[in-house]
């Protein structure tokens, strides 16, 4: 099929060129087609800038773009084998899956000056079947005007966002709905440990506005100052900052990166052109294009930060104080499970999460230093955010739940499991609520008994 396909493409060209030489006054000297076919889901601004830069660096070379959402890339590749040279897109899971299937050749690129990690956060494939091309950083988009109006402090770490003062002043994206968001769960679960991370996720999720919006609206909300903080990826926000919106982006110490990658297919029809394209996007020249105001992404070649625009974040510099090592493989494996668990703990039980956290806060205030009451509240706090499964159980279940853009292969069994978890969480929170209410009542009764 490959040969037939190539024949269909090339033969008419050769035939036409022969005719052309004989007949057309507009004919130019025929040249061998020199092109690279690139599959991507990058927006036009990224595509155009790199296409232009590449064609300038390699005169006579042309780029043909096949645009495909990452979730739909596999179908195209299966239907059109031997058609694509380079895969270049922000979708770590798709790269991992294609690499596992043996689709890529080891990246034929000089990797000198291109580290595989940012601090403790891996960004490239250890076997170099695909390499990071750019990264986007997770953190807090902060509307400084709203902070002033609401007299709120500038948040610096995840723990800050768990405080009650951020109620309805922040947006945390829902990982199962926003494709960029799943790594957030693992950043907290690995950065703070499974239990503490999930407790933080629930407290932050409880402060987040009720989950009826989607990620795009979050960017809009922060730009418009409807909320003070949106947990997001930096590049979603940078163009608004660039255009003068009163927004800062804060990178907490426990952070992570969403890498986009480049890879060359084993059956690339234009292997030399593919190599040149991959080399170009990772070159100093290509990497510096990422500073362009239409792109605003973070280069993966540390040396180019010497030429960064004023105020541009340097993740390699920041990573010197990154306090943890991120296990990427585990994050990938648990993505579907994390999404499902987040929905059970936060998205679908948002009201009871808020109710129990609010009542706990009142009870804590009422209990003061009373050690007996605080012992009860310790129990209530644990119940309020207790997960229905341990980390070991989560690891055992990883891969069973569908990640973003994947199809659930066990819908009935998973639905039953999720129902069970939901009921357990609801029971725990009811119990926590009752304890907290008892503590409040006990303190009121004590007040009443005072002469």
């Amino acid at each position: 099929m490959h040969a037939k396909h190539l024949f269909r493409r090339i033969f008419p060209s050769l035939f036409a060129s022969a005719l052309l030489a004989l007949c057309s006054p507009h004919a130019a000297a025929e040249s061998t087609p020199r092109k690279v076919v690139v599959m991507t889901s990058y927006p036009e601004e990224v595509v155009t800038n790199f296409e232009a830069g590449f064609e300038k660096a390699y005169p006579g070379m042309r780029v043909e773009i096949i645009w495909r959402r990452s979730g739909d890339a596999m179908n195209y590749l299966q239907d059109n084998p031997g058609h694509i040279d380079v895969y270049w897109t922000p979708s770590q899971r798709t790269f991992a899956r294609l690499a596992k299937q043996g689709a890529f050749t080891r990246l034929p690129v000089d990797m000198e000056g291109l580290p595989a990690k940012v601090g403790g956060y891996p960004i490239s494939d250890p076997d170099l079947l695909y390499a990071a091309f750019e990264i986007a950083g997770f953190g807090f988009a902060v509307n400084t005007q709203r902070l002033r109006e609401k007299n709120l402090p500038r948040p610096r770490q995840w723990t800050d966002l768990a405080e009650p003062q951020w109620r309805d002043e922040l947006i945390f994206p829902i990982p199962s709905r926003a494709a960029f968001a799943p790594p957030l769960v693992e950043i907290l679960a690995q950065g703070y440990g499974w239990e503490e991370g999930w407790t933080l996720l629930q407290r932050i999720g409880g402060n987040s506005r009720p989950p009826d919006g989607s990620a795009p609206d979050d960017s809009n909300s922060i730009a418009k100052g409807r909320v003070a903080v949106a947990v997001s990826l930096d590049f979603f926000i940078r163009s608004a900052i660039d255009n003068g919106a009163p927004i800062d982006f804060v990178y907490p110490a426990v952070t992570g990166y969403s890498p986009a990658h480049v890879a060359v297919f084993k059956d690339a029809p234009n292997p030399e052109a593919a190599k040149a394209f991959a080399q170009y996007v990772l070159s100093s020249e290509g990497q510096k294009l990422l500073f362009h105001p239409d792109l605003l992404r973070l280069p993966v070649r540390p040396a180019v930060y010497a030429d960064k625009p004023a105020g541009y974040y340097d993740p390699f510099n920041a990573a010197k104080v990154m306090p943890y090592e991120f296990d990427n493989r585990r994050a990938q494996e648990r993505q579907g499970l994390n999404n499902a668990l987040f929905d059970v703990m936060v998205t679908k039980q948002h009201a009871n999460l808020r109710e129990v956290l609010d009542t706990l806060a009142r009870a804590e205030q009422a209990a003061g230093n009373d050690s007996a009451l605080n012992t009860q509240l310790d129990q209530a706090r644990k119940l309020a955010t207790r997960l229905p499964i341990t980390e070991e159980q989560a690891n055992a279940l990883s891969g069973r739940f569908a990640a973003n853009f994947e199809i659930d292969t066990k819908p009935d069994a998973n639905a039953a499991l999720l129902r069970e978890w939901s009921e357990q969480v609801a029971r725990n929170r009811r119990e926590a609520l009752q304890i907290a209410q008892r503590v409040v009542k006990a303190t009121h009764d004590a007040e009443d008994r005072k002469p």
Binding site: L20, P33, T48, R62, W67, R69, H83, K224
Partner: protein, 456 residues
Amino acid sequence: MACLLAAAIPFYPGTAGSADTDALSAGASTVFDETRDAYSLASPAMPAGDRSAFVLGRTMFRQSWVIAPANDSAAGLGPLYNRISCIACHARNGKGHAPDDENGSMRAMLLRLSIPGADRHGGPNPHPAYGDQLNEHGVPGVPGEGIGYLLYEERMETFADGTPLRLRKPSVRFKELAYGALGEDIMVSPRIGPAVYGLGLLEAVPDETLLALQQQAKPDGIRGRVNIVWDSINKKEAIGRFGMKANVATLTEQVANAFNGDLGITTPATPQENCTAVQTDCKKAPSGRASELEHTELSQQDLSATVFYHRTLAVPARRDMDDQQVLRGAQLFRQAHCASCHIPELRTGKEAPLPFLSDQLIRPYTDLLLHDMGEELADGRPDYRATGREWRTPPLWGIGLAKKVSPDAGYLHDGRARTLLEAVMWHGGEASVSREAVRKMSSDDRAALIRYLESI
């Protein structure tokens, strides 16, 4: 993630300022914004309830289209196409550009094709194998039509004070033609993507205004006439006002033609794939469908939203109007009779496709009429009543921000002019007198004239 990015661009409605009303380029649809977003803001007069239509239209305009079959609502690119999205040729809603040399791709321009004669409505006669536009790319199994590229011939223009100005004139060449020779009689017209803001207001200028302008006496051999074209939406002859030869009557048709011709996307207004009779692989290639209920790749709702987006994109206000150099430039602009065709002011009609676009005093600097621009700018390709030497006066509003919005932006129909001064010095035909007036200007006056254009 790309779709998230597209949708994540904040919706900034334009804000109307309270500055001098002379600065209002587009009446109530003027925005006071000098940033790279200057061409991307909604009219401040647009009711809040219309926001979702604007946002949907913007999404369509930014959409990267996908080859069918695909598990994607944006499936249907091709079978033959130039680029995969509208914004590829209209970066940030601004102007496209020409490649710098023979190695450069036509990333923001296209080649119109035709052969002598006319179609049944008097429009250009498409090439039997290649149609009316060269599509470089094809979906798998469908050969792209070939590659067009530009060669430049440079020449030196000299001002009266001896200052030289280097000009470049493009000529089109082809290679890798997949459907046979183009033939000796092929007519080719290279066009860069035009800016797309303020179009709703141009649409709202009454026909009567254009007919009156046509009748108006003008100095120095300047004439100007309307093009009469076939309105394929309303199935009747009409005055053309869109396209570089005023060759399209309505904004809907302009948008639908671009979807179909540039991207290969079928629309309710252009329901056929862009294959010619001899392109058999093209005709056999799979098409997409906007939904199970629709037979075209773009739905009526999405087409309407894209048209709405174009109708409501605001125009940036004028800037630096009190600057002495700008004031001097304005005087020179009038003295050189530039304003005879680049008419500063028009008024939209009492009836307009959208109520807030009606009865607006606008400053587009165009008469929307065809003018003979001389042999040097001629493409030799007639389009309805427009001859190969005639071009519609392009609007100048917002042109001073063109390079800020998109540093690559080119000027004139084929992007040959890299600066405004080069564009001025290419003017010929009816505009020869204006060009010669500029040639005689001192360097200070030339600078003032350009400064004025940059303030528009």
